[in-house]
Each structure stands twice: as C-alpha cells, then as structure tokens.
Amino acid sequence: MVNAWEVASIVAVVAGVVGFFTVLRGSAFAAHAIPNGSFAGAAGASLVGVSTLLGLGVFSLAGAFAIGLLGRRGRHDVATALALVMMLGLGALFLSFSEEYAPAVYSLLFGEVLGISSNDIVPTAILGALCILAVAALYRPLMISSVLPEAGEARGVSRWRMEMLFLAVLALASTMTVPVVGTLLIFSLMIGAPAAARSFTDRPLVAMALSVAIALIVVWAAIAASYTTNWPVGFFVGAISAAMYALGRGWAALTS
C-alpha cells in the first residue's frame, strides 16, 4: 500500500510535467500510442528472456522514432496510427509464440498499482528523475518550439529535432510508468491533469505546477477510492481525470 502510494506519486509528478508539454504540443495521440504499443516490447522481452523494462524501453524508443521519422514525411496522425498498429501487430505475434504470457497483458494494460513491490520504487524513481531532468534541460527550446514553432526555427531551434527529443522523453516516461501503473492509466493522467490545469491558467510554469498537483490529487484519490471499494484504480483515475477536466472547462467558461 505504501509502495503503491510512493510509486504512484512519482508517476503523477512525471505525468504532470511531461503531460503539460504533451497537451501543449497536441501530442495526445503519441502519448496514447507509445505506452500502448510498448507493451509489445514486454511480450517480446518475456519471449527472449530479458527484463520487461528493457523490452518496454526498446519498443517505446523504437515507436517514438518511427512516429518522428514517418511523421516528417507524412501526416502526423497517420504516422502515429501506423507505428502503433505495427507495434501491436508485433505484440500479437510475440503473444502467440508464448501462450503463458497472456494473463500479464491485462496488468500491463490496466496496471496493478496495489501490487507494486518495494523493488519497483528505485528504478521508477531513477527513470522519473531522468524524465524531469530532460524536460528541465529542454524547457526553453521545447517551450518556444511548442508554442511558436516558426519563431523557434528563426532562433535556430529545429522543430523536428525538438519533436524527436520530446518523443524520446515520452518514451522514457512510458518505460518507467507502464510496468507499474499500466498503459491506460498513464494516458489518462498525462492528458486529463494538464488539460485541466491549462483551463485554470495561461502561465506555463504555474500551469505545469498545477498539472502536477492535479495529477497527484487524482492518483491519491483514486488509490484511496480503490482501496475502500476494491474497484480497479484505472477506473477511478479515468473518471477523476475526466471530472477534473470538466471542472477546468467549467471554470474557463465562467471566467471568460
């Protein structure tokens, strides 16, 4: 229980920070595709007998690069969709080779927050810190490239390079979060909380802090609710995130 609390808090902080840029850049599809497709890596890792984390990492990075490369020469959403289905197709192939793996798919998709062991805390914390550091290091160029891509280009910030770097950060965040909270839960956190935060304020740093705060509230409330009702954490994360977003939209409608 305490493990779940700690790991989920780390995940929420990362989701709040990385998600802020995801929403700002309109990369929600990539944020859905990379964690979702990376599960194929977990299936592949169990097939060849390496660690799940390695499989997830390799596949999320490969997915991120595929999206970036294909998206450079075609429509971005088409590139993302095709990269996703290709990864899932590979996942189907790996799953068919190793029958015994199937039950683990459910936990990768929906997560098993309450089953987190203390062994998970250190790798999650390290990868989480890496994500935050990467965003901090990229903060200024990433911000200008997300908000005013043309102005960024004029100042020598390559739009495409920023896109690749951002997708790599997204892949890193997926790798750390998928094994502990599942692909679906991280997506809700990464989209719902920052989208809600942006309805409350236009100032980027305040919005980012608010986004982290909302993500923390969502996971804490979800874990508590899941603990008392025994219903899955994923349901509460999805529902509370959507409710937060509705609240933000209501606030924006009232104040504008």
Partner: protein
C-alpha cells in the same frame, strides 16, 4: 491449377468455412474502412478512429455485464463516445486530440471497471485480448448478417454525405458560405467513423480496424488526390492486404514454432505498413524536405500553435 498453387494455398484452404467467412467479412471491413478512412485521413482524425477501436472494449464489456449482445455494446458505446467528443470540441483543429484523449481515457477507465465486475465469472484477459486482437478465423456465422447491415448503413451514410462532407473537409469556410451545415456534417461523419470502427472491432479486432482505416487510405491519398478514386484504391489495398494476410496466416500453421499459426493481424498490419512506405516512393525526388508544401494548405495537419 490446384497443384500449381499448392505451395501458396495450404490444403483445405478453400474448403474451410471459417476461411470463407474470414475472406468475406475481411473484404467487407476493408471496403467500409477504406471509404470512411479516406475522409478520416483527410480530416486528420486518425486518433479518433483508433480511439473508437479501444472504446469498443468499453461498450463490449458493458454489454456483456448487462447481458445484451456485444455488437450493441460496441455500437451504442461508440456513438455515445462520438457525441462526447463532439461536445468537448473535436470539430476544431486545435484541441482535437484533447477531445479524443479525454473521452478515450475516461472510457478505458470504465472498461477496466466493467471487466473487473464481470471477472468473477469470465476470463477477463480472454475478453480483452479477443477485442484487441480479434480473430478472423473465429467469426461466428451469426455475426455476418449484422456485419453486412452495419456496413451498408455506414456506406450509405458516407455516400449520401459525400459532396457536402468533401467540401466541409477541404474547405470548411467555403462550405459554410454555401450554406452547408458544417458542424452537423462533422457529427454525422463522426457517427459513420464510430460505426465503422465498431464493425471492424467486432469482426477483425481493433488493431486491424485501425490499420485498415488509416493505412490503405493514407497510401491511396499519396497516389491520387481524387477522393473517389482514393476510396476505391484504399478498399482495393485493404482487401488485398486482408486476403494475403489470411492466406499467410493459414499457411503459417506449418511454420515454426509449430502447433499453431501466426496471428492474422501481424501479417495484415505488416503488409499495410510496407505498402504505406512504398506509396511514399513515387514522386519522392520531386519533393522538398519541407512537408508543408506537399499537401494542399487546407488539408495539412497544422501544428498546434497559440
């Protein structure tokens, strides 16, 4: 003839009823997703198309929970999700991915709950995997009439809407100036997309549904700029990929590791992916690295900017 083709078509391929249904329903799904997919790609709504495939899990598991047919769950769930996306604001380019994402996140949460609530009696994992990956060789023959009906509904919706939808897609301003109800057309199109995704998810699985919706249409639109020709090309590519995938999957029972075949979805997705890459080759040397020049200005996926 049969001897000549024996290395390609494993024995029993043409005699198996499961193969007949797979080929027929696969072709049907390819035609419907090809027609809808051209507009999906032109409107930049591939994410919504993919989301409907996942949202189908929610509808399907919800239907299972209250004891009605899964197809109804898929259809009703997807239509409700389409309405929710429309309410949040999928009609605007900016924030479109957000509208899809919020609805997707909430409905996946619901799916987790539904699956949890049904888990006491049924294998949760089995249900999740079936919906996600589908199984063309396991389509019940009782599903076929419903699938045909749904296909006809979607196709007639798209063909009825064709002209106003095309104008509203290419140039919303001009469409509005001509008195076309752009938002209503957008909603009707979204319903067609939701129904097509439901059809695809229930018959061939949501992965293949997304692949068929986006891949053939995007490849076709790289080869021709004329929408009707693109629809026909997309349907042709989809049928070809589907049938070749089914043949290969049938053959793969003989491949290592022996005992069971490779999944159809892997083959079909790979074929579609390769065709998409190949479709980018013609005219490549005429293009500049700047992607913005390649697409008509109204069609390009504009980066988010504030």
């Amino acid at each position: 003839m049969s001897h000549f083709l024996a290395p390609v078509f494993a024995p029993g391929f043409f005699a198996s009823e499961a193969v007949h249904i797979a080929l027929g329903v696969g072709a049907l799904a390819a035609i419907v997703t090809g027609a809808v997919g051209v507009f999906t790609v032109m409107r930049g709504q591939a994410f919504a198309g993919e989301a409907f495939g996942d949202i189908g899990t929610t509808g399907g598991s919800g239907a299972f929970l209250i004891g009605v047919g899964p197809l109804w769950g898929f259809v009703v769930g997807n239509l409700l999700a389409a309405a929710a996306m429309e309410t949040i604001g999928i009609q605007r380019t900016r924030g479109r991915d957000l509208a899809t994402g919020i609805v997707l996140g909430a409905s996946i949460g619901l799916a987790a709950l539904f699956l949890y609530l049904t888990t006491t009696e049924q294998s949760t994992t089995g249900a999740t995997i079936t919906i996600l990956f589908g199984s063309v060789f396991a389509i019940a023959s009782s599903t076929v009439p419903l699938a045909v009906l749904l296909s006809l509904l979607v196709l007639s919706l798209i063909l009825t809407l064709y002209r106003p939808l095309l104008l509203a897609t290419v140039s919303p301003e001009m469409a509005a100036a001509r008195g076309i109800p752009v938002r209503l057309i957008g909603v009707l199109y979204l319903f067609a997309l939701a129904l097509a995704a439901a059809l695809a998810a229930i018959t061939i699985g949501s992965i293949l549904g997304t692949a068929l919706l986006v891949g053939p249409a995007a490849s076709a639109l790289r080869l021709t700029k004329r929408p009707l020709i693109a629809m026909l090309t997309a349907a042709g590519i989809g049928i070809g990929a589907m049938w070749l995938g089914i043949v290969l999957a049938y053959d793969s029972y003989e491949w290592p590791p022996s005992g069971h075949g490779w999944p159809v979805s892997f083959f079909v997705v790979s074929i579609i992916f390769i065709l998409y890459l190949l479709s980018g080759l013609p005219g490549r040397r005429h293009r500049r690295r700047d992607t913005a020049e390649r697409q008509p200005p109204t069609l390009q996926a504009l980066p988010e900017s504030r």
